[in-house]
């Protein structure tokens, strides 16, 4: 048996693969003698180099000291057969090992000419059509998802005892606790950066103490809720999409649906409630850390005592300022939850699909945050808040 491929024996002589052409056998065929070890990862002769400029003829391949062989010899023979077929000649391989002949026969019998290829390049019109159809499909999916969520919320109000409240608590506990350190660090540093930037300008007018006003207002109205939401979108929104996407790939969602369990009630609503409830709490936490960051810079670099900084902040930052930030963060939370769950539910059934869904959840989440923030800025401006 020549096709068993034990590991190469170090020090033993592995004969190089060879193929020699000899003219004029008794039956008039040209003879190609193949010998040596034919291995994929070694240099082997090619059919064209052996045949060179030889005129088409009936060919016969015979072994001549043939050692170990693998697909490289098979490939050589397939090339030989194609060469012969082109000039309507024959390739005789009867002298070769039986199993090699069987493989060649299998390949000859299989019709490899008709590959099931992907459709060719599309015209511009076809691409626009496909894009429009796809867009319509996505809009329909998103609207129907929003509708299902609304119906789900209505269901909770009507039958609160039927809802899985424990899942909401589990989501809150699992997702949010892990975000606390990173939100704390980023918010504190944002406070520090704002204080530094403000100090450079305000010190020139001897108004360094107003750093507290600037930091306080910026943090509670914009930066605190915004930074917390960005971090949550990157961490928790992505986690939602990956969890639900993986469940889809593993047919877990199919199993829920065939049991008659609403996937929105079971998977989406607990997550949405968790993000909506926890986001303002996280924003408040970010506000506190941001103000502390500003206080730290003022106390250490600007020689403003912490108590003076705190009094200034209290005088300037009102409940309405804090409230406006928190109201926004509720909507941020809802948007992040919706983006994560929607992308997870629409995930393709493959590893790549889960990756795409995760990325898309983060991008959509951040986009929703920024759009919501702009809308609120407009509303608050009109209302004079």
């Amino acid at each position: 048996m020549t096709t068993s491929h034990p590991l190469p024996v170090e020090g033993s002589r592995s004969k190089a693969a060879s193929a020699k052409l000899e003219d004029g056998s008794s039956d008039g065929d040209c003879v190609v003698k193949v010998g040596g070890d034919w291995q994929l990862n070694a240099a082997v002769p090619s059919w064209n180099s052996v045949i060179a400029q030889h005129a088409p003829a009936n060919m016969r391949v015979v072994p001549d000291g043939l050692g170990r062989w693998d697909s490289s010899l098979l490939l050589f023979l397939v090339h030989g057969r194609t060469w012969c077929l082109q000039s309507k000649h024959t390739l005789n391989v009867e002298g070769l090992p039986e199993n090699l002949q069987t493989l060649l026969r299998q390949i000859a019998e299989a019709d490899t000419s008709q590959k099931k290829t992907k459709p060719g390049a599309k015209t511009l019109a076809e691409r626009v059509q496909a894009w429009t159809v796809n867009l319509g499909k996505k809009v329909r999916e998103n609207v129907s998802f929003l509708g299902e969520c609304t119906l789900g919320f209505a269901g909770i109000v009507k039958r609160p005892h039927k809802f899985r409240w424990m899942d909401v608590l589990v989501e809150m506990q699992q997702c949010w606790v892990s975000s606390l350190p990173i939100v704390a660090l980023v918010s504190f540093l944002v406070g520090v950066i704002l204080a530094f930037q403000a100090a450079i300008q305000l010190q020139q007018y001897g108004a360094a103490v107003f750093v507290a006003d600037l930091v306080g207002l910026s943090v509670v109205r914009e930066m605190g809720p915004m930074m917390a939401a960005m971090i949550v979108a990157g961490g928790i929104g992505a986690a939602f999409a990956a969890q639900i996407g993986n469940m889809k790939v593993g047919s877990e969602i199919d199993a829920l649906e065939t049991l008659g369990v609403s996937t929105v009630d079971f998977l989406v609503l607990p997550r949405l409630l968790a993000t909506t409830v926890m986001m303002p709490i996280m924003a408040l936490y970010a506000n506190v850390l941001g103000i502390l960051g500003g206080m730290f810079v003022s106390a250490t670099m600007l020689s403003i005592p912490a108590t003076a900084y705190w009094v200034e902040t209290q005088n300037r930052v009102g409940l309405l300022d804090v409230g406006s930030g928190l109201i926004k963060s509720v909507v941020f939370g809802l948007g992040i939850g919706l983006a994560g769950c929607l992308r997870g539910m629409n995930c393709e059934r493959s590893a790549t699909g889960v990756g795409k869904a995760t990325t898309s959840a983060v991008v959509t989440g951040i986009l929703l945050i920024v759009i919501t923030d702009a809308v609120f800025a407009l509303i608050f401006n009109v209302l004079g808040i």
Partner: protein, 270 residues
């Protein structure tokens, strides 16, 4: 140590393996001859999959050695290990085809990593391999576009890409209907007969075991090792261990072939 061409294809010596503190297999030793078709059988949790993971290097044994053609795999350095990895292919239970790649790319990747073949040559070998497993013309399809049986075939084509001397199968008939499962068995036999490949198959399927196995190794959870070894028909008929007889004679498949002298099977006529 130099490889020994006369050595067994696989030799497992005093292998102990497990996870953290729990030992799943204790002092297991056996050898597989070249061209042999060996089945590893046993109930759930008996360590079949753990053994397979140890054999293919995904799990480091606690103790003992696995050798391929006389060369130690467990104690091999990185270069040697890479060399030994080329001697076997693996067909995983869930096929583990890379979903973002076409079948051609799936089969081509081992060739790309381990050989210096040109792109054109690789493409031709991919076509040969897919033809060998009966998937000629499916090069451009993605795994998600295939049926369960086709996916198994594609996974086999990938396992065979480097013409390995040994192929490991983890539950090759899992999730296949009986007819597709029979076709898979036929393909396994064909590959063994034509390519002379040594095969180690982890399976529960009685029909496949009786149809294909040269020899079976039966593992047991409490024994943490092999409790029976031999030809499946002989073990089913003559094993003194009731666990072995119960496993091989359970009523979910054809079991041992009936003796024609007993009259064989009967059919109802109208």
């Amino acid at each position: 140590m130099d490889p020994n061409p006369t050595a067994p294809a696989i030799e497992v010596k005093n292998l102990t393996c497990g996870y953290d503190a729990s030992v799943v297999l204790q002092d297991v030793s056996f050898a597989v001859k070249p061209r042999e078709l060996l089945f590893v059988i046993g109930g759930s949790g008996c360590g079949k999959s753990t053994l397979l993971r140890c054999l293919i290097g995904l799990l480091q044994p606690i103790k003992g050695d696995v050798a391929y053609f006389g060369q130690s795999f467990t104690g091999a350095d990185a270069t040697k290990r890479r060399e030994i990895l080329k001697t076997f292919g693996v067909l995983y239970q869930n096929n583990a085809l890379w979903s973002s790649m076409t079948l051609a790319e799936n089969v081509s990747l081992p060739l790309e990593v381990h050989t210096s073949l040109s792109r054109a040559d690789r493409e031709e070998i991919v076509t040969l391999k897919l033809t060998e497993v009966g998937l000629a013309g499916s090069e451009e399809l993605y795994p998600s576009e295939l049926s369960g049986g086709m996916m198994k075939r594609a996974a086999l084509a990938r396992a065979l890409a480097l013409d390995p001397a040994i192929v490991f199968f983890d539950e090759p008939s899992e999730g296949l209907d009986p007819i597709t499962s029979r076709e898979m068995d036929r393909l396994i036999l064909q590959v063994r007969d034509v390519l002379g490949t040594t095969m180690v198959i982890v399976s529960h399927q009685l029909s496949s075991i009786f149809r294909l196995a040269d020899r079976v190794l039966m593992f047991d959870r409490t024994a943490k090792g092999i409790i029976a070894e031999g030809k499946p028909n002989e073990l089913a008929a003559h094993s003194e261990d009731s666990r072995v007889r119960d496993f091989l004679k359970r009523d979910d498949g054809p079991g041992p072939q009936p003796n024609p002298a007993d009259g064989g099977s009967k059919t109802h006529s109208p």
